[in-house]
Amino acid sequence: MTRKLLAVLMLLIACMLAEAAARGAELQAPKQVVAGASLTIPTTGGGGATFYLIGPAGTIKRAIKLGEEIRIKGEDLRVAGRYVAVVTGDNGGNAAFWVTPAKVANVAFIAQPSRLPVALPGAVSGVVYAFDHFHNLVYEPQPVKFELSVAGAPTTTRTVATRDGVAWTRMDSGHKQGAAQFNAEVDGISTRRVVQQVAGDPCNLRMKAQRTPKGIEVETDPIRDCSGNPVPDGTIVTFTSVDSRGTTTVDARIKRDVASAQLPAADRATISVASGVVLGNEIRIGGAR
């Protein structure tokens, strides 16, 4: 029992001596430095030694004179993370410190989609990554102001704090078509993306028909979506005429808000109109409308 106590005591004394020795070997470096800031580490003793700085992005080796301060330039401390400074030799030592990101200088803003129909709830997503001047992710919480605006319509604003350097939001697409400006601002740094809000499916598709010397001319009313936006030019509108000679179809393109086509002459015909999955009205020529 006594021998065991003696062994434990000896072990404790050895640990204390080792810790004291280690303390003697520690370099005096700050625990935390902002990325890009220079740093000095004092040394003791005399003669030459080798200094190593081991960081997350590389290692620096330099010959130094003990007793003089070691100057580490800001450009060597650009990457955030844990660094270890080591001085070799009898009077050497080591120190570990952290380089933290500087203030926000760059904002990476991913906005999706780049094009979407109007009036879709939660369809626009924006993700912000906040970086400092040296491309370190700034993981201290930062308020991010998201703004989605299209000319002639009210702006939608939302503020979200970053978490671990990232903030995201979902917003509804507006009711007005056009190039919506999607802006994200962090600490006075803003980045803009453009989200093209386009008209949705045609709403209340209607056409009129009249006989002409060449046949039957059909033309739609101005085609708009359910929010009142004109459906873009080039959109396909299919006119179908069924008469005694068979079925005739024309895939007309919308031009200046309307689509028109020339159908073959017929005494009696049933004409219908459709665009995509949207059906319009039906007209009977030569019979009751």
Binding site: D201, D233, G234, R245, T248, T249, A252, A261, V277
Partner: protein, 380 residues
Amino acid sequence: MSGKALAIAITVATAVLVAIGTLWPGEASGTVYIAGAGTSAFNSNDSPETTVHSLFDNVRQHNWSRAYSYLGNQNEVDQRDFEADLQGTNDSLRTYSTLEPSDFRVLHQSSDTAVVRANLKWATAVGAFYETRDLNLTRQGNGWKVIWPSGKQPNVPPQVIPVNYLRWDVIFRGPGDDWGAQNVEAPHVRITSMKAGDSGDSVIIMGEILNEDTVPAFVDVKATLIGNDGNSLGKENSFDKISHTLLPKEVSPFRIDFPGVRLGDVKSVRMEPNSSLVPASADPVIAVEHQQLQVDARGKHVLQGELVNESGRVVNIPHVIATYYNNQGQVIWVADGYVDRALLPGFPMPFGVAVPDELASQVHNYRVIVNQYSQGKFLQ
């Protein structure tokens, strides 16, 4: 059986067959025209059949003057029109075709007149193209002459056709753009209907795809058949059984064939509609007029109609894709066919697409779209 015995057996069987063929020759119902039999064309006008045979033999060998000499109505048909009729114009599919072995059959013959049906087979880049012509012949002197249909080749008069359709150009993201900068969004497309069926020894996947976006899309549909054991039975795409370029809100049928697979072996189908943004033009507009389901001269069901090119540009190779629906509006078949003549502005061009006879009674409605291949050239 030893090799010697086998040789004797084959020799005896050959001798027996030769004897049977000599003693009881079969009656051929028509003349089979064999292409490539020698370099000189067959030249005879002793009978209606040999006259037609000689005409097309010379056509095959591009002896146009010689072929033209078999016509009995040269005062009505210009040699250039005759050549254009058979050889095609305006970079149409016919201009890339070669006449293959064909057969001729006398439908009717009297002492002075005859009708010969020529079933012509043209080899093209998109497969064999069959054409049936019923030719009238008259006896002139000691021989027979073909009365060639005197249809003049359409000729569009010089004119200016204003075209102001939309065109879409695309600028994609470049290598110098920031990380996080957007690229242009791929068009949103959706399969609106799909059906799996079988035909012969193939499984057929068919349906319709819609471009629900406001920009043109280049679309393709791939399908993977999953077997009862969970493994893939095959993966195919729609190839040319689809209209690849879809304008906003345009709908195209698609059909994917899996030859050699039985429908009973298929547990599920995995569909992959793909789309990408492409520059496109809203031109040309092709009207499909007077579509009707009919039965042709061979008793086959076909959907026939006329294509009218409403733009000012020649459509060199029109490709017709037809979707057939049952009385519940479901797609029951998708068929396609190429037209071997160019579509000139304003000139109706007849077309025909086959309908499987077993499905003809179920067809309640149909829709035809026209794919077009144009070389960007104008009238030649």
